[in-house]
Symmetry: C2
Subunit: 356 residues, 2 copies
């Protein structure tokens, strides 16, 4: 198979982990006789530094021309501590999502058995948990009008959803539920928020097309509680952009560490595959970032954008094998991990490549 | 001390648990020679059924005339499943918060040692966790304009904050931090949302008045993750209405169960004290609801609205004693709890009264 992949490392540890993710794609290409070509492009803080623009036109052109994108992370403390900054790394990320029509962000939350001990949650609560999140990614308060009024003394943000936007993500989630446990939870705050009431109305309507799927509606506050109390009760979850942002970060603890979680953003055009962790400037440059989320993002890329199921499964089972061998990055090590099994980013990548 | 207390049970288990909370207030009055008088008023679904209005004028008049309010819960599945309902129980709750100027919702998250085993989180992660949440309660997307456009095909909600609103809640949180561990975390989504950028600006400014307090700013997604990963790192947390709603429900798992958590809503007028759990119609009328959150709400009432520290502490230590005796409601029982120690709402209340 001939494919062109764009690597977009972005900021912080994004650089370090996508380098490893790319090596894995390369190895898979060699092993399965695919012809993968690569290019690289800037986004976020590094793009602002180089061009003044968090999503340079050149990057966008390359994105649209590629078959899939392996993405790192964006963000920089410099802007976080300056709430008045006009140009921000995240604008690049949001513009990319909008321009590529990436309305569905898919985040599988599944614990590798070897990491049962790495979570702060009790093993017996976790064992068997397997959740597939569908987070809407191009609407909500992220993309509505925002600004100041009253001489800058009042700030506002508008959250918005149209029926069409809810329908298309709901359908993706229902389709996925049909291939799994046939349970779908839609999460909203319909007791307070109008966008949530529209959300619930539309999900109820789409549900009629999937009579086999058992549908529940939960308020976001209650869902945030249930995720920790009893994660095994979940199958597929569909929710709005902001709620999905919060709930999936929370749910990362079900998988032991943020450093293990990959995501796929898909929709109208090129798919983007990225860890759910951020740029993590506190550990940037130290060589300790966990590359497994980027490697698992590569696995999602192979499966979803290229339809290469066997290749994707090989990557996932290899990660499993490396964990079974006892190798850990710092974030997933626990008190019982021998010091010589705690690896940095590159060494962990090398173990995966070795077993591939 | 002579005080007039309004009991507002509201919906579902609100009725059952406030009845117990009131008994505890009564017992305290008798023991310490206070003169507490009571009245009762309707809110929520029961108020809609009786008057058509989720917050009848009569209730509001009684609220404003009382010295403190012991509150139950509002909500009913009937409305949850009908996103098009025009009159809803929650409107009563929100109107009460606005009319009484209850801008600060205080939610202490602390685990009773005896319940270490009841949580889904590992005991060693939990032990010693003690978090005080300040949730802003009269602004944000809860109270902004909301509605439909494009022939009802698009829904919108406006989130809004003024400097003044952020400042007053921030000050309350900083004041509390000064009496505790002198650490304050402000939670927002300033990398995306304009109201969050104003929030961060104002908190940074208020922080200058409290040089002794160590301030951090966290994005809400990251905070949702940290709460589970390492709850002990938190001291005081201050956040906006919606984020506070989600994060405190999540944090209930740190305290073993939602059924243990009390809250105080304070501001310009009469204070309102209520469990953070909801109306829980699935267990309503079964007599199994945990009354301890309502009892602990009564303790907050005694302390915050009446300044009765000793009385408040006695209630809390009595709850502790009852737990030490091994008594549990269903929600906080675990596999090791003997069947005869698992009590219903009334019996659990009776144990607390007995030890008071
Ligand atoms: C960096 C930030 C804007 C982004 C988001 O909120 O969507 C991130 O948290 C994510 O989840 O991809
Ligand atoms: C019932 C609901 C409107 C309410 C809220 O969202 O504020 C509740 O969840 C709470 O936390 O008091």
């Amino acid at each position: 198979m001939k494919k062109h992949i764009l690597i977009v490392p972005g900021d912080g540890i994004g650089q370090e982990v996508t380098a490893v993710g790319k090596q894995v794609l390369d190895k898979i290409a060699a092993k399965f006789n695919h012809d993968f070509t690569y290019d690289e492009a800037l986004i976020g803080h590094v793009a602002i530094e180089a061009t003044g623009n968090p999503l340079p036109d050149e990057t966008l052109v390359k994105m649209k021309a590629s078959d899939a994108i392996l993405f790192g992370a964006v963000g920089h403390p410099k802007y976080d501590n300056d709430p008045t900054a006009k140009v921000r790394p995240e604008q690049g990320l949001l513009k990319m999502r909008k321009e590529l029509g990436l309305y569905a962000n898919i985040r599988p939350i599944k614990l590798f058995d070897e990491l049962l001990g790495a979570s702060s949650i009790k093993p017996e609560i976790l064992k068997g948990a397997d959740i597939l999140f569908f987070r809407e990614l191009t609407g909500d308060i992220y993309f509505g009008e925002k600004g100041r009024k009253n001489n800058g003394d009042t700030a506002f943000d508008v959250a918005e959803y149209s029926r069409f936007e809810v329908e298309r993500i709901a359908r993706k989630a229902f389709d996925a539920a049909m291939t799994r446990g046939k349970k779908l939870m839609s999460v909203d705050k319909a007791n307070v928020i109008e966008t949530s009431r529209l959300w619930r109305e539309v999900v109820q309507k789409v549900a009629l097309e999937y009579p086999e799927v058992e549908v529940t509606h939960q308020f976001v506050d209650s869902c945030a509680m249930m995720l920790i109390k009893d994660p095994k009760q979940f199958d597929v979850v569909v929710t709005a952009n902001l709620f999905g942002d919060i709930l999936t970060d929370e749910a990362s603890q079900i998988a032991g560490s943020m450093g293990m979680l990959a995501s796929a953003s898909i929709g109208d055009g090129t798919g983007v595959y990225e860890p759910i962790h951020g740029s993590a400037h506190d550990i940037t440059g130290k060589g300790v970032a966990n590359p497994l989320a980027s490697i698992l993002s590569a696995a999602l890329l192979l499966d979803i954008s290229f339809g290469l199921k066997a290749e994707s499964e090989l990557v996932i089972s290899t990660v499993d094998k490396v964990l079974k061998e006892g190798y850990r990055t710092r974030d997933i090590a626990d008190a019982t991990t021998p010091a010589d099994k705690i690896l940095g980013t590159v060494a962990m990548g090398a173990e995966v490549l070795k077993f591939l």
